[in-house]
């Protein structure tokens, strides 16, 4: 086996893991707080991508700048979806929630189809074609940047949840909704903010990966599935779990492509899921009661 190839595989896998982590953080936040599985997750991300695409093609804004705008836009969308729809079914059984979120996913996907057409597309950015060479191994600058932003965003989100009053309130509402209500927390507002922040993470993730990952309206479903896989591996509701899970899944796929046929690489990520569920049913960083 070619050592350079293995090193390259590890490096590419870890860096691309940043993309996966970003995807998963928003999903895990929403689930952790509300116990609602957001099946529209991937489609929200696709909307983040299309927003970045429009900003790049119409206004000439690079996605590595416009991801902040996309995050803000998706925050608003998340708030709207939460206040208008999710709020009504927060206490409903899971299957009701799943149906609603699948409905939202269908609407988002088909509006994108109407607006942008079925062809796959990609955002061009000068950063996306830049590479750094470390001897025989190369570093993809776009992925490096995405990776660093993923680390920063996850840390910032952690700081927000653990160091600010609003963050503490969100965690309180997540831990014990009834208790939070008793001490006078506006749980509805907390939920809306949490859903908005989760959606904002996805929006940022969409914009940041739009130069790396080609997308079309139907991409949403596969992104949702990949995100669920990561979140379950990391532990539903755990931020650190989503981050580490993203890196692990990407590394597994990359090394799978190195050592076996690349067409089998998804076998690796989903086998990882099964193995982890066998030995740690709550995921790597999940709590049993979750």
């Amino acid at each position: 086996m070619d050592l350079t190839l293995v090193m390259q595989g590890v490096l590419s896998g870890l860096l691309f893991g940043g993309v996966y982590s970003l995807m998963a953080v928003g999903l895990t936040l929403i689930f952790g707080v509300m116990r609602v599985v957001n099946f529209a997750h991937g489609d929200m991300m696709v909307w983040g991508m299309y927003l970045a695409y429009m900003l790049a093609t119409r206004a000439g804004v690079d996605p590595y700048v416009s991801f902040l705008v996309c995050a803000a836009a998706l925050f608003a969308l998340g708030l709207l979806v939460q206040r208008g729809l999710v709020d009504r079914i927060v206490d409903a059984p899971h299957e009701m929630q799943i149906l609603l979120m699948l409905g939202v996913a269908l609407v988002l996907e088909n509006v994108a189809l109407l607006a942008f057409g079925p062809e796959p597309t990609r955002v061009r950015s000068p950063l996306a074609s830049a590479t750094l060479w470390l001897g025989p191994v190369f570093v993809d600058v776009a992925r490096l940047v995405t990776f660093l932003v993923a680390v920063t965003l996850t840390s910032a989100l952690g700081a927000f949840l653990y160091r600010t009053d609003l963050g503490r309130t969100i965690r309180a509402a997540a831990d014990n909704t009834y208790g939070a209500l008793v001490i006078g927390t506006d749980v509805r507002r907390v939920y809306a903010v949490a859903f908005g922040v989760g959606a904002a993470c996805v929006g940022a993730a969409g914009a940041l990966v739009s130069p790396i990952l080609p997308f079309q309206p139907s991409t949403g479903l596969s992104l949702s599935v990949a995100s669920f896989n990561i979140v379950i591996i990391g532990g539903m509701g755990s931020l650190l779990g989503a981050f580490v899970g993203g890196l692990l899944v990407s590394l597994a796929e990359s090394l799978g492509a190195v050592f076996l046929k690349p067409s089998l690489k998804e076998l690796f990520s989903f086998s990882l899921l099964i193995v982890i569920l066998l030995f740690r049913p709550a995921g790597l960083f999940g709590r049993r009661s979750a």
Partner: protein, 421 residues
């Protein structure tokens, strides 16, 4: 007080109006038309090519009718009865039954091999001559030809004007050998990369089988499939690089092309060039606009329109307008030609009331007015396939797709090996 328009009143009025407007249509005296069931995947995953096929066929029928219809049959006009498989193979049969019950006397379709095969059973059972415009799987026609030969069925009603899967592979290997010879180079190591779906697998298998049969001086040293659509191809390209290729031979879909070509450039692979056995869609202006220099000098073997024929450019321009800016390509082109081949068959058929007479005229087809690049006239062999339906090697030069091989199809000389960056 002014009368208020209530919902009921509104509905009554509009329904009455609709009835008045809608009724006279079937009563109006109409000239007799020859109905062709045109079935394509117009919705679902293959909606994009399916819609291109439908528009191609419709444009051809419009042109035929505008030029006076089928002259030997008193200017008989053609009419398409449209069908949609929704990209579900089993619907090929359902839709074929439906259009036949609506009076279709011939069938045209249907892009993907699965639904085309489902249409074949209707064509043979109900004796409806069927011209396949696009579908590559070899067995579709071969199975019918065999059952006719074995005496299980009397007449073959199914013919195909499109390259077969195996012929794609053979031609690609042949073009590789010829281009290397013409360029006076002798690459040794070819890395084959393909999208691991039905299309990609068939193309890759055909290419490998043809390579084995031709036994050329170059080897396929590594075969790298990826799941389609992919999220990341960097490791795949690293793997290709590790195989020290002279040539990378990719089989891509539009989604994977957006990942593959930039990644090849990023990883700076020293090689003679990218020469593919077939990547549908990379010639679309949208793809070229997105990939820009990453597509420059890429060669790929695809069914291509013959732009040396001045009529092709006119039709391509009309297609661009009616499709909202799309390239007149494999899909629209072969469906366009199919409608003209049908018109030619109807001209020669002794009578249109007997399906066997139409099938007989079909069998004897020798038509050379097609807009696609052929190796000779449209004529059907013993299997019902047109051996002259061949792909063309095209190259992206100065951000435009250009036919470069075989020589008689070339509008420009290829640039190979590609200049070093």
């Amino acid at each position: 007080m002014t009368p208020r328009l209530t919902r009921r009143a509104f509905l009554r009025t509009t329904a009455g109006g609709a009835a008045v407007l809608g009724f006279p249509l079937p009563l109006r005296a109409q000239a007799k038309t020859f109905k062709i069931g045109a079935i394509h995947p117009v919705t679902g995953a293959l909606a994009e090519p399916g819609q291109a096929c439908r528009l191609g066929a419709q444009m051809a029928v419009d042109a035929i009718n505008a030029a006076g219809g089928v002259k030997s049959k008193g200017g008989l006009r053609l009419e398409l009865i449209l069908g949609d498989t929704q990209t579900k193979p089993e619907n090929g049969r359902v839709e074929a039954e439906r259009v036949v019950s609506h009076g279709a006397q011939m069938l045209l379709g249907s892009f993907d091999s699965g639904s085309t095969n489902a249409m074949v059973s209707v064509a043979q059972q109900r004796r409806v001559p069927f011209l396949i415009d696009i579908a590559a799987a070899d067995p579709i026609t071969a199975n019918v030809a065999r059952s006719v030969k074995d005496g299980q069925q009397k007449v073959q009603y199914v013919y195909r004007n499109f390259p077969t899967g195996s012929s794609f592979g053979k031609r690609a290997v042949q073009y590789f050998i010829e281009i290397f010879k013409e360029a006076n180079v002798s690459p040794k190591r070819v890395v084959l990369m393909y999208c691991n779906d039905l299309f990609g697998q068939n193309q890759a298998r055909g290419f490998q089988a043809a390579h084995k049969a031709a036994n050329p001086s170059w080897d396929i040293v590594e075969v790298i499939p990826w799941p389609e659509p992919p999220t990341d191809l960097s490791t795949e390209i690293s793997k290709a690089k590790a195989a020290k290729p002279d040539i990378i031979a990719p089989i891509t879909r539009p989604a994977s092309a957006l990942l593959l070509f930039p990644e090849i450039r990023k990883q700076r692979i020293e090689m003679m060039g990218i020469v593919g056995p077939g990547s549908p869609g990379i010639y679309e202006s949208g793809q070229i606009a997105q990939l820009k220099e990453d597509l420059e000098y890429v060669l790929t073997s695809v069914p291509w329109a013959n732009f040396k024929n001045p009529k092709t450019s006119t039709v391509a321009e009309e297609f661009r307008k009616r499709s909202g800016g799309k390239t007149f390509d494999t899909n629209s082109g072969y469906s366009y030609d199919a409608a003209f081949v049908i018109a030619d068959i109807l001209e020669r058929a002794t009578t249109l009331d007997d399906p066997d007479a139409i099938a007989d005229a079909m069998k004897k087809t020798n038509y050379s007015g097609g807009l696609m690049q052929y190796g000779g006239p449209v004529a059907f062999n013993e299997l019902g396939d047109n051996a002259n339906a061949i792909p063309t090697m095209i190259q992206i030069l100065s951000q435009k797709p250009v036919a470069v091989w075989p020589k008689e199809a070339a509008v420009q000389k290829f640039v190979f090996p590609r200049p070093r960056a």
